[in-house]
Symmetry: D2
Subunit: 380 residues, 4 copies
């Protein structure tokens, strides 16, 4: 068993999700490599130490530059806010570390392209946590499409709806609310939520050709937690866009944090010539499928409970009928990364894949400003 | 076009449902016979007249004996309370009339057997409104079972849940509440609701061999609307029973009027060796099917929207995707009756079929009293 | 009881739906007026006669101009293809007849505006069959919005998905396929399906301000049934658009006939500050509601089975829990029309309301051609 | 942080579930105690060693008697087949160890009573893995009932349906199929699946008074994996029973391994005077609730996505909308056990609680043999 020493930056929601994945990967998957939780890095030493105790990290750093310099670290995992991704990645690449990065890769395509150049120059393996690819039901969708079960795809439809920022009294910025601060996050729902939808869409149905978007900021000003002042809100609260894929499919995408009743409702539906698929993050263990080749009078949407041994990833877990949850997508991602290393394959999605998603996000925001159809530029 | 002159007895919920069916059958089905609404019979002359005006009946009677005597009446439709069924049927049979009767056929098996003897002696066509057989999704279930799609049937499960009698202040007896008066109704949920479940079960899966039941009357006394006094409640508020079919299937049946949240939730589920079916009156236009012969990783419960032209009865109605409702089951029943007449076939379910259901109800109530497994007697 | 003599033009799907509604309205609603099926008009005399026999029309016409001329006709019901609506309506208005018209009102806004001018000049009552307003669950949604239960509305989302034209072998034009012939229909899914979505949206959430659309014709050529030749397909097979309402809500609309697995899936979702609503034509008897004012830990989407006596229209029908279906929306529309007459109120939606929907459709198609945001012009 | 040294017996499905729980409990919960995986015990030394490596156990034993003797072991976790529970527990109690035991506690009530006497005499803390109590949606149901939200409970309905033993070619006995071998398992679905339903039922609605059951063994003979011979099948393949709770509620319970389409469909529904609840293991993160006190026209079943911070256990996990799964119920159970130790409270359900469930199982099987209502004996 070869070990990989992990240095994790960030102990928030994603720091916990990644730590849990590093712990569980080898319990449930037979892997040549085993991650070792070597160091946790965060600015607040006391909190970092508490996190290290709870999660079993061997050491603590308070400056990521110091972490990157350490010789006993093989892999840097970036789980800190978006505005830190680029600099950490550039330094880590220079230091020859493998890099895992929470999504979105960066605040915009320019940052992302810089990062891609750096890691490709350094030749280090990378991966970005677009974890929804690893939900078994989503992976099953991918298999069905790749097998040609859907035939020509006419329509793609994705939504990511939340409702947690409706209150005008919610402030922006700071520890748990940096996603509302455009300087830190880069954008609002586009980079946070639509980036997931776009990554999945490209993976399932190929590249997007052009987009036509609208955005809205429903609450124009919010108190900023760091300055204490009421400041203009710079992020997009909601974004919807029309799109055409390169393969000719039509698409609609929508995301908002103002949809009462939806906590994290990421759904997609794909309509093909022969079959259609539907998936919903709120019931992530199910894939809905309509197969036109079923006998006519018996056609109907099938609710596939994706918990059988012949479903992707599932033979590693429990027995048929027993659900896994959100966190398992990270375990799968880490396991897949370790397997790719063992097989000397390119881990996916890597920084280059994530750049493509970033360029779509940029085109979406540009289109929203111009009110025009906008071509998605090719990654260079 | 041959006409059949109908004399309808009763103008309540079922009087309306039958009248509507007589009106619509020939609009939507191509039939040799056409029912003519010749007379409505009810004790209250003014109300009967109003009903006649609203529904287009040509005449009014206030005494069913007079109606039965009329030469211009070909068919008696019994939509009055259960305690009137036997006497009307005996007189109608004697007068050589065709007879349609609302379910249950009678208050008990003894009454029902008397009625069967009378109509069979008279040789008149009969039918009992176990209308749920004619919901397209239920008829589709019947076709699938008869085609052998399910294989050996291991389990049958039926429920009919309501919640409208929970209040202790609800009185019993009289116009709209005769179903709570045991003298009029014969029994509570067993004859009213389980009779539907039993009729469907026998139709789909053959005769029942033995039953083991429990009943409960949650509210022991209620004011009686006719006497004005608080009287003991004689009906069963709830009834559940275990059963074995003659073909070896195991069954559970349950009905209650004390299940909060359910207005008229009649459901059945059938588990066969190869496939399972589920149906629910609250979404009566859908049939759920699980087919084990589907490809393993793609198995799932299919929600079949039973609204296509190749579904039972549906090519007579609208276009795919557009629902019909409760009332249409009566239209189908009348249309099927008229077609059976034209083809000189036995209409189903007729009085003899309904007697079998009545005998199961009797066995259920007997078992509840004794606490023992009880054989269902064979109809004679 | 005052009678209204109806002359119906067209005996197709909608001719049947309207005839059924005229028959049933007075059985289930207490109305001052009663429609009399005086004449059916269609070019094929034999078929018209057969329809008259089946549905009880007193007479037959083969030329609508002759029908409009008849003194014994009070009301013209237009259920013929879209390209006939304008001329019939102009003649009927001139003859002083009341006019009911199947949707869309016309092939485009210019035709529609002409019709509005004519009927307003003549002062005749009109109504357009945007029947989905009269589904009880949709009417309940309207009540809740008008009561202010949702608060500020952030998002409106509507789709109308079908799958019946995917086959390339399907011809266009002629009796049952005129909806694929742009000369007869005016447009494809925009006028046929999105018109419904737009009518409901305006009714529920007010006027649309601007739209940004894309359309696609997946099958570019089809055999034409009337010419026998392969001809270019002029209709839009699919259309999606972004929109902003005048009240500031953001919207997405989409319709297609290439969505495998959906027969007539009209859905809408509305996200308000305090509550959200969802409705689905495939389960038209249900309204989903999420109410943020419910106790926190018990919040969830409620599936309201809209079949109770206190639900719109439902006390006229059966008992709680028993569904009505598609056809009942037409019965309600006819009943509402007759009640508006009795109360000397404006029936809704009338030609003027339908003109607004037509202008949105025009703006959608114009935007799809230009690729730009397009203002919805105000009706004149 | 105090440590507790765990000796685990059994490395099958449940050995993995328990190991995972011991690992995760302290990552997600703040606890005074921390379990240490001191030893894994199983007869096959090589497999035990492999399991130890994968899961991080410090040592291996191949004889549970030796494990129980070790001074460095504080807690024995019994995850081996049912026929080993009693002897291990008696020895562990004698050695003064804390004991966690997989359900069912024993093969029958006699074994269970012996175990209870032993642990109570020894005064050691115990707990039985009736893990479904710790699914957040089920715990929420418990809170609602204890808060009196349901009022008087009229009906309780539970099912546990599977379909994995339908094939006649499936053998019985041995490593993964001991659940089909009556000598090892004690019974079939009654002890395996209904035991879960009974534990939950007693927890939610109090003790059962009497039961009336039927059982069936659909496949009468199967090859035995250990003897290689075709032998009589001694277990119950299916079991259904009627019951009355001591509080007067009526109940139906059913379990089978012959219900096509259901992998592990444990559902319960509870109908109270004021509200009803429904839960389903296949969507374990949801609780359905109908509240009669909602405004009349807006009543409906709410689908509560039990993933918010104010839901039981959920503030320890991710963010609203993100599901946890099956395995988390074990993590909660271990965390609750450790908290009970810290608070010097009685862990629940302990051996005494599990004895009550065992006595109900015994009464069910006895009733099935006699065909009579059978009183549930009081635990001594």
């Amino acid at each position: 068993m070869k070990t990989i020493n992990v240095g994790l930056i960030g102990y928030g929601f994603m720091g916990r999700a990644h730590s849990n994945a590093f712990h569980k990967a080898n319990h449930f998957f037979d892997l040549e490599y085993r991650p070792v939780l070597k160091a946790i890095c965060a600015r607040d030493a006391a909190k970092a130490q508490a996190f290290a105790s709870q999660w079993g990290f061997e050491s603590v750093e308070t400056d990521w530059r110091q972490l990157v310099r350490r010789d006993d670290i093989d892999l840097i995992d970036i789980a800190s806010p978006n505005d830190t991704h680029r600099d950490i990645a550039l330094a880590a690449a220079k230091a020859g570390k493998m890099i895992l990065c929470e999504k979105p890769l960066a605040r915009d395509g320019i940052e992302a392209a810089t990062m891609v150049r750096a890691v490709e120059k350094a030749g280090v393996p990378t991966m970005v946590y677009y974890n929804y690819r690893r939900i078994p039901a989503v992976t099953l969708a991918k298999q069905l499409i790749d097998d040609g079960r859907l035939g020509r795809i006419f329509h793609y439809r994705a939504k990511f709806l939340q409702d947690w920022t409706i209150s005008k009294d919610l402030p922006q910025g700071g520890a748990s609310l940096w996603r509302l601060d455009v300087k830190v996050a880069g954008s609002g729902v586009t980079g946070d939520l639509l980036a997931h939808c776009i990554d999945t869409a490209i993976w399932l149905n190929g590249s997007l050709d052009q987009v036509n978007a609208m955005t809205e900021t429903f609450v124009k000003q919010r108190k900023h937690n760091l300055t204490g002042k009421v400041e203009k809100v710079g992020i997009d609260d909601a974004c919807a866009f029309l799109a055409r894929f390169k393969n000719g499919s039509l698409a609609t995408f929508e995301s908002t944090r103002y949809a009462r009743g939806h906590k994290a409702l990421y759904t997609f539906e794909i309509n093909g010539e022969n079959a259609s698929l539907f998936w919903d993050l709120h019931d992530l263990h199910r894939l809905q499928m309509f197969d036109h080749r079923d006998e006519g009078r018996l056609r109907g949407w099938r609710s596939i409970h994706v918990t059988d041994g012949d479903h992707p990833y599932m033979k590693q877990w429990w027995v048929p009928g027993l659900q896994i949850g959100f966190e398992h997508s990270f375990v799968h991602q880490v396991a897949d990364f370790l397997q790719a290393l063992a097989r000397k394959e390119r881990p996916r999605p890597d920084f280059r894949d994530a750049l493509e998603t970033q360029l779509v996000c940029d085109a979406v925001l540009k289109s929203a400003r111009s009110g025009r159809w906008t071509k998605v530029p090719a990654p260079k």
